[in-house]
């Protein structure tokens, strides 16, 4: 399974995708005795929109969080844009290792289920905090960049509002702008619409779909099957800490090969017109 998972599956790689930008090798994660990731190998290609589906507890969120070391892998390695960091749980507090992890995180943006905007800062300040303090972008430039991305997510007029004054959907769109402002090589979304009221899901998915069509490299953990079908280059089904099946959305969602994928999708797809 691992060998096939490492390469683009079955069909030839679509022409618009570039070189691999994220390479995950032999990734294992234990929480105590709980074996959550069981040897994941995965390449994500430049400009690829990859959606991870699977039932809760299958390890998809952990895979995402291990990719930027918010959860520290027990074994294996992560490479993003040429920087490879191997799991080293015994020496994870060392200063040089923390710095490598930080460099890795600069390459990967993250959008969380609960937004996690900084409540004591305005939307704009949320967006310029990391660019000015971490990337040392001059304040004026950082503001220009932030305004461009806030406009992109349709919230330029909310630039001076604090998060408490924004709806859930607006918060998540600011969070997306904040991540974009660091100009990451890959943008990761951890169930970005799961905490939203149903009527606010659409505005967030719209922004994400635009990003996908513009060629933003992204990894999305989602339960929105319809969205996956529209926006994904590749869909990946996880179960029990491993990748069970992957391929273009038409294939995985309409004609799944694995019994477990079929069973999982049946619940989602029956009520929806094909």
């Amino acid at each position: 399974m691992n060998e096939t998972a490492a390469t683009y599956p079955s069909q030839p790689k679509p022409a618009h995708l570039g070189e691999p930008i994220v390479s995950i090798r032999g990734l294992h994660k234990y929480f105590g005795q709980n074996h959550v990731l069981r040897g994941v190998d995965l390449d994500v290609w430049q400009r690829e929109a990859m959606m991870i589906i699977g039932r809760s507890g299958s390890g998809k969120t952990t895979l995402l969080r291990c990719t930027n070391f918010l959860d520290e892998p027990t074994e294996g390695s992560i490479e993003i844009d040429g920087l490879r960091v191997a799991a080293d749980p015994l020496h994870s507090r060392s200063r040089s290792y923390r710095e490598r992890i930080r460099q890795l995180r600069l390459r990967a943006g993250m959008v969380f289920q609960d937004f996690n905007l900084f409540p004591h800062m305005t939307a704009l300040d949320n967006c310029i905090e990391a660019p000015t303090r971490v990337r040392r972008v001059p304040r004026k430039e950082a503001i220009e960049l932030a305004e461009r991305y806030l406009a992109k997510v349709g919230l330029i007029e909310k630039r001076n509002e604090h998060p408490a004054r924004l709806s859930g959907g607006q918060k998540q769109r600011v969070a997306i702008a904040r991540a974009l402002c660091m100009q990451p090589k890959v943008l990761m979304f951890d169930e970005p619409t799961s905490a939203l009221d149903p009527e606010l899901v659409g505005e967030v998915l719209k922004v994400m779909e635009d990003l996908a069509h513009e060629g933003t490299t992204m990894i999305v953990v989602t339960h929105e099957m319809h969205f996956a079908r529209e926006a994904a280059d590749r869909v990946l089904f996880m179960e029990e800490g491993g990748i069970v099946e992957q391929g273009p959305p038409e294939q995985v969602l309409n004609d799944p090969q694995d019994q477990r994928t079929k069973q999982f999708l049946r619940r989602f797809l029956t009520p929806e017109p094909a």
Binding site: R102, F118, R133, V134, H162
Partner: protein, 267 residues
């Protein structure tokens, strides 16, 4: 539907005015009870033949003059105590054994000994090893260390009350640990602990009376000096108590306003 439409408007106005009357009555009774109790105390004073108006004229200003020193000592102490508390809290949350141990030792030692002993130690004991400190700085040092230890626990709880997602979001953006703490966690923790710091400050106004024992010429010290020689102690200490009381009422008022403003703020 027709029931809602038919709801008689007049009753709404009547309910509103009834509510207004109830509120006004509550307030009136509050003022009445307080005025009554204060009057009772004044009456008892008169009955015991302990009101010496010329004495009050002469000394009340002198005792009141100590309020400035009380406030000075408290403001200086709460500032230093806050700084100590932030360091203490970071220490108590540190994963470095030596730092954690140092912070724990500080908190344990200070919380395990009486404030009065700490004041005496700084002012009367340190001179034996050649460290001589004037009364006011000595009082500020003792109060700062004492309150710093108690407030360490407040700040620790405040830092831990900041949701974990905040730290993760900052880390995911590549902020180094130092900035995660300074820019994201501490500002939010401060918001959480400000009401508690207000309470500590009010408690400190009263505890600062203890520094009268080392000759800091604050409210209580002055009351003693004014009252004892001519046996006007009842009036002197009542004036002192009144001053502390008014000070705490005034600061409670400001604290309440600050809290309300922060609650309204941007969370």
């Amino acid at each position: 539907m027709s029931v809602i439409e038919a709801a008689p408007r007049p009753i709404l106005a009547e309910m509103a005015s009834a509510q207004r009357r109830a509120r006004a009555s509550f307030r009136a009774q509050f003022v009445l009870v307080w005025a009554g109790l204060l009057g009772l105390i004044a009456l008892l004073l008169l009955v015991t033949d302990n009101v010496d108006v010329p004495w009050i004229d002469e000394w009340a200003g002198f005792i009141l003059g100590g309020a400035g020193i009380t406030i000075l000592v408290c403001v200086a102490s709460i500032i230093f105590a806050t700084l100590l508390a932030i360091l203490g809290a970071l220490g108590r949350l540190s994963k470095v054994p030596v730092i954690y141990s140092l912070a724990s030792f500080y908190v344990s030692l200070v919380r395990g000994t009486p404030l009065l002993v700490q004041i005496f130690f700084v002012y009367f004991a340190l001179p034996q090893v050649g460290i001589i400190i004037d009364p006011i700085p000595a009082g500020i040092i003792a109060l700062s260390f004492n309150y710093g230890a108690y407030m360490t626990e407040i700040f620790r709880a405040g830092i831990q009350a900041v949701p974990r997602g905040q730290r993760e979001a900052a880390e995911a953006l590549g902020l180094p640990e130092r900035l995660v703490m300074r820019r994201v966690v501490l500002p939010q923790a401060t918001r959480i602990v400000i009401p508690a710091i207000g309470n500590e400050f009010i408690a400190m106004i009263k505890d600062s009376a203890l520094v009268s024992t080392i000759g800091v010429q604050e409210v209580l010290w002055r009351a003693g000096v004014a009252g004892r020689p001519t046996l006007h102690t009842l009036q002197a200490f009542m004036i002192a108590a009144l001053i502390y009381w008014v000070l705490t009422i005034v600061f409670s008022y400001f604290q309440e306003r600050l809290e309300r403003r922060m609650a309204r703020g941007d969370r």
